[in-house]
C-alpha cells in the first residue's frame, strides 16, 4: 500500500501543469460547495438556536394573528383564556406575554422588540438557557425596570443603571441578557402589567404553554386544538419542521448547484486519468509482465485519481472556508455563514467520490490492457 501511494505521488507529479489544472477544477467546485453551503448551514444553525429557546413549548396565538413574533397588533388572549389554559389537563405552566416591534429607534441597529412578561415568568426564560450578562432579573414588584438584550445594549452603549425611554416613561435597566444569537439579543423586556398599561393593551398577544411531560407535547397540543377553536397551537417541532424545509430548499440551491461545478471538476479528473493511462500504456504493460495483477493496476490508477481529487478537495475546503469567512466579514455579520463539521466531512467525501468515480473507467481500461500489445506500443 505504501508503495502504491509512493508510485501514485510520482505519477501525478509527472505532468505538473495538467495535474495542477485538474486539482484546480476540483478545488473550485469543492470551494464553492463549502462557501455556499456555509450560508445554508449558518441559516440552519441560527434557526435551531432560536428554536432551542422555544424547545418543549406550545405557542398559542389567536386565530387571525399572523403568527409568532410578527408584532401583530390585535391582542386577543384574555385573562380568562389564560386561566382556562392553566386548568387544562397536561399543562404545567402558562406564560402569557405582550410585545411590540420597532417602537424605539436609538442608534441604527436592527429593529428592537419590546416584550412584556410577568416577573414571575422570567424563570421560564431562564430555564431555557438564558442567563444574565450583568445586573439582575426583573423581580416581583418591579414596574419601570427593564432587561435588555446584549446587542441592544452594545449598539446603544447601555449599561446596568442607565435608563431608556418608552412612550415617555423612563425605565431603569436592571440587567443585560447574555448573547444567545436570537431575537432576544435585540429586545427589551419589561413587566407585563406596566407594558399593558402604557401601550393601552387589554389582552395578551400570545402565550407559551409548557406541558407537564415534554415527551407528550404533541398529544397535549392536539388536545388543545380540539378544545379551543379560536386559537392556533404550534409546537416548537412544528416550527422547526417548517424551517427545516425552507433550509432544505436553500441547501438545494446552494450546495446542489455548486455541486455541479464539482462534478465538472470530477470529469476533469476522469479526462486526466484517461490521458495518463494512454500515455503510460507501455509502462502498465511492463508492470503486468513483471507480475502486477489487474487488481494492482486498478488500485494504482484509482489511488492516483483519488489523490488528485483529495488534494483538490482539501485546498477547496480551505479556500471555501476563507470565502465563507470573508462573506461574513464583508456583510458585516448579516450573512451568518458557518463551516460545519458536516459540511467539511461531506465535501471531503464528495471530493473522494469524484476521484473514485472519475478514476473508475480509466482504471478499468488500464487493468484490462493486454500486456503484449501494450509493450509493443510505441
Amino acid at each position: 500500500m505504501n508503495d502504491l501511494i509512493d508510485v501514485a505521488v510520482k505519477n501525478i507529479f509527472r505532468q505538473k501543469t495538467r495535474t495542477a489544472l485538474t486539482i484546480t477544477g476540483i478545488l473550485i467546485g469543492i470551494g464553492t460547495v463549502v462557501a455556499l453551503g456555509s450560508i445554508s448551514e449558518g441559516i440552519y444553525s441560527m434557526i435551531t438556536e432560536e428554536m432551542q429557546f422555544l424547545g418543549g413549548t406550545i405557542m398559542v396565538y389567536s386565530k387571525g394573528s399572523s403568527g409568532f413574533m410578527t408584532g401583530f397588533e390585535g391582542s386577543e388572549i384574555t385573562e380568562e383564556n389564560v386561566e382556562e389554559f392553566e386548568d387544562f389537563s397536561g399543562v404545567k405552566e402558562v406564560v402569557p406575554y405582550v410585545m411590540r416591534i420597532g417602537e424605539i429607534k436609538i442608534g441604527q441597529g436592527p429593529t428592537s422588540m419590546i416584550f412584556g412578561i410577568a416577573p414571575k415568568d422570567i424563570d421560564f426564560f431562564k430555564s431555557r438557557g438564558t442567563e444574565l450578562d450583568s445586573g439582575r432579573e426583573i423581580e416581583e414588584g418591579d414596574t419601570y425596570q427593564a432587561l435588555i438584550g446584549y446587542k441592544y445594549a452594545e449598539e446603544n452603549s447601555l449599561e446596568v443603571g442607565d435608563s431608556i425611554e418608552l412612550k415617555k416613561n423612563s425605565f431603569e435597566i436592571v440587567g443585560i441578557i447574555e448573547e444567545i444569537n436570537s431575537d432576544i439579543d435585540n429586545s427589551i423586556i419589561i413587566p407585563v402589567d406596566t407594558m399593558m398599561n402604557i401601550y393601552n393593551m387589554d389582552n395578551y398577544k400570545s402565550l407559551f404553554i409548557v406541558p407537564e411531560d415534554v415527551t407528550k407535547i404533541d398529544v397535549v397540543a392536539e388536545d388543545l386544538k380540539s378544545s379551543f377553536d379560536d386559537f392556533e397551537f404550534t409546537t416548537s417541532t412544528d416550527i422547526i419542521n417548517q424551517m427545516a424545509s425552507i433550509v432544505d430548499t436553500i441547501r438545494f440551491f446552494t450546495i446542489g448547484i455548486s455541486s455541479i461545478a464539482a462534478v465538472v471538476g470530477g470529469l476533469g479528473v476522469m479526462n486526466t486519468m484517461i490521458m495518463s493511462v494512454l500515455e503510460r500504456r507501455r509502462e502498465i504493460g511492463i508492470m503486468k509482465a513483471i507480475g502486477a495483477t489487474n487488481k494492482y493496476i486498478l488500485t494504482q490508477i484509482l489511488i492516483e485519481s483519488v489523490m488528485i481529487s483529495l488534494i483538490g478537495g482539501l485546498i477547496g475546503i480551505l479556500i471555501g472556508g476563507l470565502g465563507s469567512y470573508s462573506l461574513r466579514f464583508v456583510s458585516a455579520g448579516l450573512a451568518r455563514t458557518e463551516v460545519t463539521i458536516n459540511l467539511v466531512v461531506g465535501s471531503l467525501l464528495f471530493a473522494i467520490s469524484l476521484g473514485l468515480i472519475g478514476g473508475l473507467y480509466p482504471a478499468w481500461k488500464a487493468a484490462k490492457l493486454d500486456p503484449i500489445e501494450a509493450i509493443r506500443y510505441e
Binding site: 505504501n2 508503495d3 508510485v7 510520482k10 505519477n11 509527472r14 507501455r282 509502462e283 511492463i286 508492470m287 503486468k288 509482465a289 513483471i290 507480475g291 502486477a292 495483477t293 489487474n294 487488481k295 494492482y296 500486456p371 503484449i372 509493450i375
Partner: protein, 225 residues
C-alpha cells in the same frame, strides 16, 4: 527428469474462424530443463515471440498445455497467472522496458515489492543484483541517464529479482551495438553458469553460438522437434 517447463501440443490461432484467421503455432512440444541456455531461432513471423509469450504466461494458447513445475499454468485465472509471472518468470525485452519514473535500483525492486518483500530486504537484494551486473555505482540513476547496455543490464537484474525459474529474453541484443551486445551475451553466459535458466529469442549468431541448445522454429513448428 529435471524439466521445469513442458509444452504439449501448443497451438495458437489468431481470429479463429474469421476470414483473417492466422495459425501462428501448429502443435509445439518442448521441454526445458533447469540450467539450460536455449536460443530460439526463426525468421520473423515464425511464431517465436508468440511461443515466448505463451511460456511467459502472457498469452493464453488456443490449444495445448503449458506445465510449469508440473502444474498446468493456463488453468489459472488472469490474476493468478500474474502471480506465476511475478515469481517464476523473468522478462528481458529488446526495448529494455524499464519504468522511467523509477531509478535503476527501484526498477529492480519492483518485482520484489509486488511479491511483498519488505523495502529493506528488496533494496539489499536489488543492490546485490546491481553488483552482479556490475552497475552498483549507477543505482540512483534514472533510465534516461543510462546507456543502452546499462539499461539492458538493469533489465536483466530486474528479471532475476525474484529468483525466477527461467529468464525469457526477446532479442536482448537487438538494440545494442556489437560490442555492447557481446557484453550482454557474456553476462547472460555468466549468469547461466551460476545456474539461471535462459530462453533467448534471437537473430544474433553470437548468442546462437554460445547457447547450449538451439531450437529452430519455422511456420509455427519446431524443426526436427
Amino acid at each position: 527428469m529435471n524439466n521445469i517447463i513442458e509444452l504439449k501440443d501448443i497451438e495458437m490461432t489468431y481470429n479463429p474462424g474469421r476470414h483473417n484467421e492466422l495459425k501462428v503455432l501448429k502443435g509445439v512440444n518442448l521441454k526445458i530443463e533447469k540450467g539450460e541456455m536455449i536460443a530460439l531461432l526463426g525468421p520473423s513471423g515464425s511464431g517465436k515471440s508468440t511461443l515466448m509469450h505463451i511460456i511467459g504466461c502472457l498469452d493464453r494458447p488456443t490449444r495445448g498445455k503449458v506445465y510449469i513445475e508440473g502444474k498446468d499454468a493456463y488453468n489459472l485465472s488472469e490474476d493468478d497467472l500474474a502471480l506465476v509471472r511475478r515469481k517464476k518468470i523473468g522478462f528481458v525485452f529488446q526495448q529494455f522496458n524499464l519504468i522511467n519514473v523509477f531509478t535503476a535500483v527501484e526498477n529492480i525492486e519492483m518485482p520484489m515489492r509486488l511479491a511483498g518483500v519488505k523495502k529493506d530486504g528488496a533494496r539489499k537484494r536489488a543492490m546485490g543484483l546491481l553488483k552482479l551486473v556490475k552497475l552498483e555505482e549507477r543505482s540512483e540513476h534514472f533510465p534516461n541517464q543510462l546507456s543502452g547496455g546499462e539499461l539492458q543490464r538493469v533489465a536483466i537484474a530486474r528479471a532475476l529479482a525474484n529468483e525466477p525459474l527461467i529468464v525469457l529474453a526477446d532479442e536482448p541484443t537487438g538494440n545494442l551495438d556489437t560490442k555492447t551486445g557481446e557484453e550482454i551475451i557474456n553476462l547472460m553466459n555468466r549468469l547461466n553458469d551460476k545456474g539461471y535458466t535462459f530462453l533467448i529469442v534471437t537473430h544474433d549468431p553470437l548468442i546462437a553460438k554460445s547457447a547450449g541448445r538451439i531450437i529452430k522454429i519455422k511456420d509455427g513448428k519446431i524443426l526436427g522437434g
